[in-house]
């Protein structure tokens, strides 16, 4: 357990109760403004909904085992995949890393006592819960069958709980905005003394870039969703061709948010990977600035390309060309990151702890996920592949395969810091392997399904596609087995006593300077930065948490 310990942190004599214990009681958790507790509550909420969304996913896969009806009818199926998509995007993956790990780790990494607006932070959690409750309540209204994209005029004319679901997503948007506002203000104003922009851990750069998108894109989603509500309630006409409106305009509105939103999903994942790889390679990150700037570049470029989801949706040729052209530029910062991470491992001292195993899975899966984006960004191939399982597979590779695996990497990385306990390392390695294999078994066949012409959102399909669907379904069970195993050993870790050293992995960023778990105010006094975040040279000035005279 203490293998990786380089230095046992600042060995303070005074013992403070950690943030988990002090103050006690459920009420104290529900009213806490401590970023760490809020982060944990977010994390467990997200995991809960991940389980729910995952169960829906398993039902989808089960249904697709046979070409005709297997376990549910078409209407149920449509509701199931809509809920799966909506839960996974709005309730799981968008808050997953920023709101859960980000809340927990960002102030620690910055050497701050909390985020800039702790109460706004708590509000964001409650808003999230409200939105989640609303989304779940749609089930009582007969569910929603629009797909997570809510395309008009279907969404304005179908029955069921669309209005409530749309409002739920609207409310969830606020929780995302609150997190974003908080993080930007925190990064600007609460860095530890001595921490310039380029002494910040890359995680913070990733969070910053994410927050930019959250702030700039989410409001447009908000108004788009309100317009759907207005269309349904008042018949305002903006998206209804019968009333002089334009249904394709809705798609512009929707993707103006939802394309950048995919970078809300991937940038935090990249942020986690940028922490994990140097720590377990025991080597400074390769090309710090390139990685930092590429995060911001991805965030900003991400705003210019949204209509690549609409190449066959009746856009003009000119627009198609522009959007395709711009899309390709996002590949460049992504490539820089991938190769810089690999270069970081080069000549390092690589320790294959669980977080590192997940990070390596991330690298491999993201390479496939990202490069298959190029098929879709290219005009002529997208015409063939649009709305087929190829797209489904592409986005699972980047969302489930990259983001959630990075979430797992981050959870395994900071678990000792969160709880002061360690999980069973052997089980961790096994389940990482299961997840990697299961994931690829589930989604590789879907690429082939897609390129052979199997459309998505299909309840029935032609028998010629069955073999690959069966393979995919079996893969989903392997994947589920891996995830359930992960959940099991993580929960089992609570049976051990707390006893982690402050710095089990030998990391060099500030969170490892405080106790595991940290006290309520994170650090004894104000830490002052004395070396860069990834400085593994034996010589540099002693790391320091120093009392800063007020």
């Amino acid at each position: 357990m203490s293998e990786g310990v380089l230095h046992a942190g600042a060995g303070h004599a005074v013992h403070h109760a950690d943030y988990l214990e002090e103050p006690k009681g459920l009420w104290s958790w529900l009213t806490t403004v401590d970023h760490k507790r809020i982060g944990l509550m977010y994390m467990w909420s997200v995991l809960f909904f991940f389980l729910v969304g995952g169960i829906f996913a398993l039902l989808i896969r089960l249904e697709l085992l046979t070409p005709k009806q297997t376990i549910m009818d078409a209407e149920t199926y449509n509701r199931v995949f809509t809920l799966h998509g909506a839960i996974m995007t709005f309730l799981v993956i968008i808050p997953a890393i920023p709101a859960a790990l980000g809340n927990f780790a960002l102030p620690l990494l910055l050497g701050a006592k909390d985020v800039a607006f702790p109460r706004l932070n708590l509000a964001s959690l409650y808003v999230y819960w409200t939105g989640a409750a609303m989304a779940v309540a749609t089930l009582a209204l007969g569910g929603v069958d629009t797909g997570w994209t809510f395309y008009t005029p279907y969404s304005t004319t179908t029955g069921g709980g669309v209005t409530l679901m749309v409002l739920a997503a609207f409310v969830l948007g606020f929780s995302s905005i609150f997190t974003g506002v908080n993080f930007i203000a925190t990064i600007h104003k609460l860095r530890a003394p001595g921490m310039g922009w380029f002494e910040m851990p890359l995680f913070c750069w990733g969070m910053y870039a994410t927050a930019l998108i959250q702030i700039l894109a989410t409001p447009v989603l908000g108004i788009t969703l309100l317009l759907i509500v207005m269309e349904r309630v008042l018949g305002v006409g903006i998206f209804d061709p019968q009333l002089g409106g334009d249904p394709v305009l809705f798609q512009h509105f929707f993707w103006f948010y939802s394309h950048p939103a995919v970078y809300i999903m991937i940038l935090p994942a990249m942020a986690v990977i940028s922490e994990v790889i140097p720590t377990f390679s025991k080597k400074t990150i390769f090309g710090y600035k390139a990685i930092a700037f590429s995060s911001v570049a991805i965030a900003l470029l991400g705003f210019l390309v949204w209509a690549h989801h609409m190449f066959v949706a009746g856009m003009s040729l000119f627009a198609g060309a522009i959007f395709s052209f711009l899309t390709f530029f996002i590949a460049i910062p992504s490539a820089i990151k991938v190769f810089n991470w690999i270069a970081t491992m080069w000549r390092g001292s690589i320790s294959l702890e669980a977080p590192m195993l997940y990070a390596i899975s991330f690298l491999l899966i993201f390479t496939i996920g990202g490069l298959t984006g190029l098929f879709l960004a290219a005009l002529s191939t997208d015409v063939h592949l649009h709305d087929t399982y190829f797209v489904v597979s592409h986005f699972h590779y980047v969302m489930a395969g990259s983001n959630l695996i990075a979430l797992l990497a981050g959870m395994h990385y900071w678990w000792p810091k969160m709880y002061g306990r360690l999980y069973n390392k052997k089980l961790a390695a096994i389940s990482c392997a299961l997840i990697f294999i299961g994931f690829n078994m589930t989604f590789l066949p879907q690429f082939v399904l897609g390129s052979r012409g199997m459309p998505r959102r299909y309840f029935n399909y032609l028998p010629q596609f069955q073999d690959l669907h069966v393979a995919s379904t079996i893969g989903s069970w392997v994947l589920a087995a891996g995830l359930f195993l992960t959940a099991a050993y993580l929960l089992a870790s609570f049976r051990q006593p707390k006893g982690m050293a402050a710095n089990p992995w030998g990391g060099r960023t500030l969170e490892w300077e405080t106790t595991s778990p940290p006290t309520t105010h994170n650090f004894e006094g104000q830490p002052v930065l004395q070396h860069g975040p990834y400085d593994y040279r034996p010589e540099p000035a002693p790391v320091g948490v120093k009392e800063l005279a007020h």
Binding site: A74, Y154, S281, F328, S349, I350, L374, P455
Partner: protein, 313 residues
């Protein structure tokens, strides 16, 4: 490596196939290459520099601008190539030749209706002559649908209140499957159609008399075929389960109550009327959503349906 392409892609049967397949395979190989390339680098690094003791010291390499430029500029060149390649194919698929024959395709929940230049109309079966450019003008009556022919590598949305177009020259006689690829509700996955690529003679006959099949088949079988192919199946079941419309099982010779409260005997005239003027008598408990099939079914097909329903006891 043709087997690999044939494994990944369906048969190619239009003039757009070449552009698309070439680019598709190019990116496929690119992806395969980078997956194994990155995998190999990682594997190598992990084996060579695996941590053996906690005291290991690693070199302090902060960056290398030249290397980083290399792995930004090479991808840049590659993606620009991909863009141009994709753009070329797209423009080709976009610009309709002047001599293309025009067919209007209308999507509605959950059938495709085709109207030929001479006024012939068909449902879900599209006949086109081989080696002639055909332009489809697409529109929709309700929500967005999308017309997708994998074997032609083509797809375009059909949007209510607007027209979009799509063109192709089919290069091989045979049947190509059409899917609806824009989610449109319950029947989305059953909103299938087929394109019959005919030789010129076959096409002539089709315009004159309907498909050959239709001519020769026993009436009862023809009825079943119509049920399958002309969209009846999306709403009417044969086994008694209630769909959008009433099941046909055992309705022959029953008395059915209409929304107006009157009773009607289900006989040949009644069925004919239900098909041609569905709104004239709406069965109680159902929405008046059945489209009229006036002009869409040939006389023999209607007779076939009547025979077919008769048999469904």
């Amino acid at each position: 490596m043709n087997w690999f392409r044939d494994f990944l892609l369906p048969r190619g049967a239009s003039t757009h196939v070449g552009e698309m397949d070439g680019l598709f395979m190019f990116i496929t190989w690119l992806t395969v290459f980078f997956f194994f390339f990155n995998g190999a680098l990682i594997l190598y690094a992990v084996r060579r520099w695996r941590r053996r003791s906690n005291k290991e010291v690693t070199p302090h390499i902060t960056h290398d601008t030249r290397l980083e430029l290399v792995w930004s500029l090479i991808p840049l060149a590659v993606v620009m190539l991909i863009f141009l390649w994709g753009f070329k194919g797209y423009v080709k698929a976009w610009v309709v030749p002047n001599d293309a024959m025009e067919i209007i395709a209308t999507g509605k929940k959950w059938v495709w209706e085709f109207e030929y230049p001479d006024g012939t109309r068909t449902l879900n079966d599209l006949h086109v002559p081989v080696n002639r450019p055909v332009k489809l003008v697409l529109t929709s009556e309700d929500v967005i649908h999308s017309f997708y022919i994998p074997e032609f590598r083509l797809k375009r949305d059909a949007i209510p209140g607007r027209y979009t177009e799509l063109w192709f020259t089919a290069t091989e006689p045979g049947i190509a499957q059409v899917y609806c690829t824009e989610y449109c509700g319950k029947g989305h996955s059953d909103m299938l159609a087929r394109i019959f690529v005919d030789t010129p003679e076959q096409y002539e006959t089709f315009l004159r008399e309907g498909d050959e099949q239709v001519q020769k088949m026993p009436l009862k079988d023809l009825g079943r075929l119509v049920w399958e192919n002309k969209g009846c199946a999306t709403c009417h079941s044969l086994d008694g389960t209630r769909g959008q419309g009433p099941s046909w099982k055992g309705i022959w010779n029953q008395r059915h109550r209409g929304a107006d409260g009157k009773e009607h005997l289900v006989d040949a005239d009644y069925i004919r009327q239900s098909i041609l003027m569905p709104q004239a008598m709406v069965v109680q408990g159902y929405e008046p959503i059945m489209p009229t099939y006036q002009g869409l079914l040939r006389e023999r097909e209607i007779l076939g349906l009547i025979e077919f329903i008769k048999e469904l006891q």
